[in-house]
Symmetry: C2
Subunit: 334 residues, 2 copies
């Protein structure tokens, strides 16, 4: 079987099983491992705090193209997507390593611009770039690894409980609308074009928001980079619960709703590339967060005992809708 | 200017300067950073131990080809090269993340074999594989990140002192001989062929040896994956000293000396891919290590005040030789 037939998540499940089957229990205990493969970051218990580690790769012509993305934006985004994983655990990012693969004819000034973008977001989030490596490759590829810490508590995919409200930060679908705008060369007014481009190429990971969620007692969260439905279904599988999402409650940005019409909901549900947080918690906790947060936080549904592992979409009348598509998968055809 | 004109190390120097120039001193202090860009790993001070982090990428048709390397060997080596960086700091490796980029038509069984190789070396060195990601790409690329710890002391590139002896573990040049055998389809007897292939494709990082060096008071070391001369010159630059290497003392393996004749010394000096440790220390320390080590340890030269940053090669008569070539550089043509 080819990996495109298994899909990204099928392959990850198989590899995670192999690693689990080979694991010496003594080793895991000795290593004080708290969370291994299968969450936004790995977690182990340090001497005084939880230690987080995450990595992600952006590959040319798969995750970005150089005609749509500037080198500066590429540097920003390569670090941003990893900070988002730390945010999804409620952690504080601290150190970054950069593994950069480049064709030999890459202009040194382009690499400088890439580092300028990376340095800018690193400074913004108090992250120190501490090492990495550069090597030759037929195309550009950037793997960033971020190390962070968390206090006594953190956010995981496995803590959603029946009766929890499902909430999301920001306006899912805006990033996918930005990608669509760039691919289809759509023309919008300057404000809209800038909003869409920046949301897709210069995302602001919800690091402060993740920490606030932990402080206010939230236990279950994920970032929705794979698409809202796909990532919520990861939470459902890990927590062995189901979820219902009311699509009329999706906080679609007016610029997306106005310009993308019928496809706006699809972008929000499965467009991917949103570096927003989805979390679940009891209603009073969510209400407090909505009041305190400096970004939009919207309840879009709830966790239920039925249909564990599944996400059900309903409209305003309560009628069930088909899942349009399950979200971004790196191997299977969409 | 293109990166191929700057070379790998010129590019790294430029990026390191950018990061240093942008660094907020308060941030570095707050982060308790001990070593940033420019050594085998990044190092920061944890609550009770030094924390190490390193990453390295293997790219298809640049660092390996699938007709010469099995998937199992690829998995082994992708982790081994990172363990070697931890070894070069005298550290203990603990956790690994794997970022795997694959064409969609990759056979799932090949990925399984890759993980089997990686799991085998992980178990051997007590490392837990704790996460990562998989994504689509036009060719295979593996970036592994390893986190480790060190006690109060560690090995760095910057601690070589005038009068130190320069010593090396193992038999440099054997890995490059293995690569040459595979590329040129050379035929040797089974023992030789197996030795050369395994040294190149299934290297054993000197993790225990690195820890022993620290315990015995060594302060300066590097792994010689870029080639003995290139890596010794990294030590010389970081320590602001010169070094003299007596090429007749190079511990070339008999199988390499017998089969590669005049090119054996070149393989040892600049072939690269040797995951051996080069270290410098006062003579009595080195003598103790030679007696205690379970692998070959050989004095090949000494550190001197003259010609800081440079490596001088001399023959048995004391005559200076030309540097054949400076070692492996990922961008410049050799």
């Amino acid at each position: 079987m080819q990996v495109s037939e298994m899909g990204e998540f099928g392959l990850i499940d198989r590899l995670a099983e192999m690693v689990a089957a080979s694991s010496d229990e003594k080793l895991a205990t000795w290593r004080q491992l708290v969370i291994g493969i299968g969450d936004d970051t790995a977690v182990w218990q340090g001497d005084t705090s939880l230690q987080l580690l995450t990595t992600d790769t952006l590959t040319q012509d798969v995750n970005f193209t150089l005609d749509m993305t500037t080198w500066w934006e590429l540097g920003w985004k390569a670090l941003a997507v990893n900070l988002s994983d730390i945010a999804a655990m409620g952690g504080i990012p601290r150190y970054a390593l950069v593994s950069l693969s480049l064709p030999g004819d890459t202009e040194a000034d382009d690499v400088t611009a890439l580092y300028e973008g990376m340095i800018e977001i690193a400074r913004k989030f108090g992250v120190a770039i501490v090492g990495g490596n550069v090597s030759r490759a037929p195309m550009v590829s950037i793997t960033v690894t971020v190390h962070g810490i968390a206090g006594r508590n953190m956010l995981t995919r496995s803590k959603a409980r029946t009766g929890d409200k499902v909430a999301v930060t920001g306006n899912p679908g805006t990033a996918a609308a930005g990608l669509k705008m760039l691919i289809e060369r759509l023309n919008f007014n300057t404000d809209t074009a800038e909003l869409l481009r920046n949301t897709f190429l210069k995302p602001l990971p919800r690091v402060a928001e993740g920490q606030m969620l932990v402080e206010r007692g939230v236990a279950a969260a994920i970032d929705i980079s794979d698409g809202l439905v796909a990532d919520l279904s990861h939470v459902c599988k890990a927590s062995r619960v189901g979820a219902r999402v009311e699509i009329d409650r999706l906080p679609i940005h007016p610029a997306v709703r106005d310009n993308f019409g019928d496809s706006a909901a699809g972008l929000a549900l499965s467009g991917g590339e949103d570096y927003e947080l989805l979390f679940t918690a009891q209603e009073e906790i969510v209400t407090g967060i909505i009041k305190a947060a400096s970004c939009p936080v919207t309840v879009i549904g709830e966790i239920m005992a039925e249909k564990p592992g599944e996400v059900t979409l309903i409209d305003i009348t309560g009628k069930q809708l088909d899942l349009l598509r399950a979200g971004w998968d790196h191997f299977t055809v969409k």
